[in-house]
Each structure stands twice: as C-alpha cells, then as structure tokens.
Subunit: 421 residues, 2 copies
Amino acid sequence: MGAQFGRKEIKLALIIQKYGGTSVRDVGRLQQVARGIVEVRESGNDVVVVVSAMAGETNRLLQLAHQITDAPNTRELDVILATGEQVAIGLLSLGIQASGARARSFTGTQVRILTDNVHTRARIVNIDVERIRHALREGEVAIVAGFQGVNAEEEVTTLGRGGSDLTAVALAAALNADMCEIYTDVEGVYTADPGMVPTARKLSRITYEEMIEIASLGAKVLQPRAVEYAKNYNVSIHVRSSFTKSPGTLVVQEDQDMERVMVSGIAYNKNEAKITITRVVDRPGIAAKLFGNVADAGVVVDMIVQNISQDGHTDISFTVSRVDFHKAKELVQGVAKEIGADQVLGDDRIAKVSIVGLGMRTHSGVAAKMFRALAAEQINIMMISTSEIKVSCVIDERHTERAVRVLHDAFELQTEPPIGE
Amino acid sequence: MGAQFGRKEIKLALIIQKYGGTSVRDVGRLQQVARGIVEVRESGNDVVVVVSAMAGETNRLLQLAHQITDAPNTRELDVILATGEQVAIGLLSLGIQASGARARSFTGTQVRILTDNVHTRARIVNIDVERIRHALREGEVAIVAGFQGVNAEEEVTTLGRGGSDLTAVALAAALNADMCEIYTDVEGVYTADPGMVPTARKLSRITYEEMIEIASLGAKVLQPRAVEYAKNYNVSIHVRSSFTKSPGTLVVQEDQDMERVMVSGIAYNKNEAKITITRVVDRPGIAAKLFGNVADAGVVVDMIVQNISQDGHTDISFTVSRVDFHKAKELVQGVAKEIGADQVLGDDRIAKVSIVGLGMRTHSGVAAKMFRALAAEQINIMMISTSEIKVSCVIDERHTERAVRVLHDAFELQTEPPIGE
C-alpha cells in the first residue's frame, strides 16, 4: 500500500479525483484545482475528475424551486439541480485548458451513468466508460459531473446529497482505476474532530467498515453509500485536502496489522433528538405499529432502545434527526393514546457520542471502558446502542466536547499504535 | 387570418409559445407566465412552451467563463450556457404543475434538437418530435429549453443569441403547429421605436421579408434567422406582450393587400462605426484583399460603399459593429500602407437609419422622398445603401431621434393605410 501512497510514486496510473463544492467555490479556487490536476496529468498519469456544484449553488437552486412549490416534483427538481454540476464541469474544463492541458467535460447523460428511476436519490445501475476511455486515449483529462445520472428513459436523475463521492467511486470501479482520491477541506480522517480535540491524530489508514460507521455517525468526510460501494468493488480511496499536498487517509480493506487497534476514532452527532414512550404494554405488534407510523411519515429513525419488561410494561426510546423531532413526537403521541401508554417524553438537546473500531470484535471490555471514562467525568448516559464495531451513547448535548475529549484520552488515540497501522 | 388571431377563437389547436428571459426574470414573473399557460391549456389547446434562461443568467455564466479565460473553448462554453435554459424549464414546469396542469420539461438533448457541430452558433438539422407528441397525448404541457440542441456526437450545442426564437419556430414547423406565439416585453412590431416616436403605431401584420430587414437593422423583437426559418416553412408567428392579453403583430406571408404600403417601418441602429480608406488605387483585387483581411479576423462588415473612380483612385467606406471598430481600423491601416492608399478615417459616432417596406419594389421615388425629408432637417447623409425592400442612410449619431421622427412623418406611418394594411 505504501508504494501507492504518495502522488510522486504513482507513475502512469489511472487516477480518479473528486473535488467537492468548497474546492471550486469561486473561480480562484477552481483555477488552483485546475493547476493541480494539470500537474498530475503532466507526470504521465491518466486523470478522470469528478466535480460537485460550486459551493452554495445546489442550495440556491433548491430555494428557487421551493419558492414555487413546497413539494416540487422530483423529476423536475433533478433537471434543475443537475445544472450545478454541469456549470462546474464546463468551468473546470476551461480552467484545465487555460493551464495548458487538454480536457473534456461529460454530463451524467453523456458518460452514461445509468441509474434507476428514483429521482433525487437514484442508484447507479451501470456506467458506460467508452467515451471516457476515448478521451483518455486522446490525451484529455475527463471531467465528469458528480451527483447526476440518467435513467433508461433519458431522464436526468440525481444521487442524493454527497452523491459526487459515489460517482467518483463508481467510476473508479468501472474504469478499474489505481486510486480514487477524494479532495475535501480537511486533511484526512482523524481520531476525533480536531477542532474539538487538540491531540486528535490523522489516521494514515482506516478500513471501509470503520469509515462507514464514522461517516454514518455524522462526520461529513465521505458519503456512507460511496464507502460501501468502494468496499464491494475493492476501490482504494484516498481522502485528502485540496489545500495541501500532504497525504491524507487511505480507506482500504482490513489487513492483519489493523487487528491491533481497539478503537480507531471517536465520532459525535449533535443533530439528533430523543423520544421516549413510557409504560408501553409489552405485546407483539406494538413496536411495529409505533415505528410503522413514523416510517410512513418519511421520518428516519436512528437508535431504538427497549428495556426489559417489568410487570408487563416497558419503556421505548428512539432517536430521530432534529428537524423531524416535532413531527415524530406528534405522531407518537397519537399512537401512545391508542395503545394506552403512559407518557411521551422528548428531548432535542442531546448528542450521540460513539467509539468506532474493528478491534472491538476481538477485544472485550471496550464498551465498559467507555462507560467508565464517561462516568468518571460525571457524564450521564441516557441511551446505549452497539454494533459489531461501534458503541454509541446518547448524552446531554452540553457535555459533547468533554465526552469526546475524555474518550480520546481513554483510548490513547493521540499516539500512534505500537504495531501495524 | 383574422380567425386565428384572437386567443379565444383558437380551440383545440396546437400552439407554440416562446417566453424570453425577461418574462421569467424572477419567480413571481415565472408564476404569472405559468398561470397564463395553464389558462390556454384549459381552453382545450395543446401547448408546447419554449423558454429562455432567466434574465441575466446567460451573462452571469459568460462572465464566469471569461474570468477563467479570454477565449473559452466553445464546446465547454455551450455546456455551461445550456444550463440557464435547463433551470428555466424545470422551474416553469414546477410553476405549471403548481397552477394545476400537468407539465414535463425537455432539454435540447432530450427532445432531440439535432444540430451541426458549430458550437455557440449551431444550425438546427432535425427535430425528433416523438417525445413531445407523447407528452401532449398524455395531456402534458411540454416545456422545451430554447437556445440549445445536441449534435450527432451527443455534444451540447447552442444556437447563438436569440436562439430561443429559432427553437420555437423550428418546433412549430416540425409539429405543424397552428401558431407560434413569441412573447416579449413590447406589444408587437411598431412602425418605429415608440420610445422615440410618440405617434408610432403597432402593425397588425408584417411580412417575413420586412420583419427580417427590421430585425437585422437592430430591432430586437425577433431573431432574423428565426424569421427566415418561419418564411421557409410558412410558420405563422404572433409577436405579443407577456404583460397584456391584447393581440400583437402577425408575421406572415405577403398578400395582395399589402402591396399598397410603400414603407412599413423605420428602423435605426446606433451600434455601428464607419471606416473610410481614401484614394485607393482602383485595381482588381484590392477590395478582396481589404475585406478578406477583415473577415479573417472575425469582424462582420455591414454596409460597404465605393464611389466611382476618379483619376484611377477611389474612396471605400464600410461599417462594422462598434465593438470591432478599433480592431478593424488597425487591420485596415496595415492594408492601406501596403496598397499605397492615402488615409484611413474612422468614426464611431454614427447611426444607421432605415426605411423598410415591401412596397418599394413597385413604387418609385421612395428613396428620393427619404433623402428630401432628411435634407429638409439639415441632416447630412454620410453613406447610402439599398436593398430591394430597404434604404439605409448613415448619419451623425446625434441626429438619430430627429431623423426617425421626420421619416415616420414623411411616410405618414402614424395613420392606418387606406386599403388593406
């Protein structure tokens, strides 16, 4: 892996580079990105670039649509939103040409990034790489619009927020690229938010599984669906900064050395709210009724916790995105009355703090260590949820920073692990 | 013709409507346009709408491109510019849906408006109307992006400034529509600029030939290429205001009655500059050399005047667009030296004033009447150029308004002609 790490060591490779909206937020930044691309191309590499809309553009377009109607038709919304990336590919292509290399832009329709028909969150079905291969053979840098595709009826589709990551990874898989570089405004994946934990350390490597958990837990470095796609097709991802040339974090398959690390990172999410229904009759079908209603309203539920039943009754708690808090609470209040539950309690001043690490599968006592560290700081745990490689605790929002810092210390993440990694 | 004129009299017709950028310059105006379209649809008509980019958007995109490079690659420029119309079709479709009718947007690629490969000023080769016909059968209003097409290699192309008019007319021809309505911010075609001549009168009808001359002479009501296309395919155009419901001007084929009118309108153009080369040796090949050089530099020459030769020498004058004045003058100075001409004189404070009318073909003395009217006002004529249905005079820019007014009076355009129109 080390041999593929630094840019200078990859000669005559096929590299996919993805730039987000902040990397091309104005013409000055876009020209800087263009010069970087030309450098890589001039070292002899074939380069395919995926680019997002200039920062703020997608929101501007969304606002225009929402000025007309509260619930815009998703087919038309995709037609509108796809223009953000289309402008960006044209401008970036001009920027690369101005820096002295050949370039050619491609929309999702032109490439052809074939998707299903689910507008605003379509799934990629197939990518026809012939036009890109042709451009590369002609010595051109291929610039592909992120976030968009086309369905079998030639309708424009979009892949959902963060979809440009998915475009890049899917192209890397389809082209059998040597590396998929995701350029972002941070230098890589850290053991914790460096703005919160001064001793946070940049990880040189992380596994797909850990990255999926960290991404899902609210770190916006990579779209979780893109990481899953990379895992399925074994695409090596390099998360790095578009501001510096220093190496970032490789997202790769698990290997022997990695087993040594118990916990790779601490994640947090302040964007959730908690709802508790007390004294629910413990009877089959109750949970189905409760969460069926919530799901039908389009509200996504994250954690669900149900304690053991006492005297035939139980308490059920769950978390939802904070924007859905009031809607979800109202829905649950209706159901609670129906099923004769006692009370519906809500709290939207919570945070979820999580430890993520592949090593948990083989090390015991990781969760207990987390609980002890929080207890020592008098931080009360409201809810607990675990997966194979993750433990999440819901706590009072006010304690978030302190909790992240104390966990970072407890698992000694500031120092490089002794063997491997 | 009268029977097709008023909106209420056209039942179960297929109508093409084209809205320019000012008609959709903000969401409020766009919703107003949408409601108008729904009204026409609900009267039982099939409606196909062509829309331009929201006012200012094309210039914003052009500026972005020009911030990157002075001479943007035209293929990429088309990719960028086409997004303006793509946003507009999506938003207008949402607006129509919000007003209660079904609608579906189409890009130039989706329709398929097949063009040649000349980016930024492509010509339409063929239109595949099957998708539009299908949408109409489904009871949908079809919203088509103006100004754009696609070439045989699936590249995005654009048709040049004013190209949305051409899209509308070409669609009207391909769909064999009953009427092509061009909505604009004026109420129709006038005998002269109403802002300049208070007695200017809206024409109820004008021939294609006259409209082409008036459009070419600087009136921005309709793109000349679109009128030529309409003439070739006999498409009836109705130029009307998007602000009022009153009928505008029909652009149609010549008929018997029209022969009675000598002059239909007065046009002017303040956007030109004049260059004169004095004492050019009168020898074959000199003009070819002179204008060959100018054409090679991409400068379009409008009028060319050469007087009879005296003692083997002659003076040659010509006009160019004012933005090309300095470039053209420099080019000509080079050639003038080579061929031993005396001087190169330039003047960018001129105006071209023209009278246009089919009747000129059969009436004598029209030009003389024009010259007398200007002379009576002490307005000096610097250059004269005539075509079958037009006489143009170059004068000092300061006299433009006065010249237009005096010509409007001289040809009695304020009053409806006695017989026919």
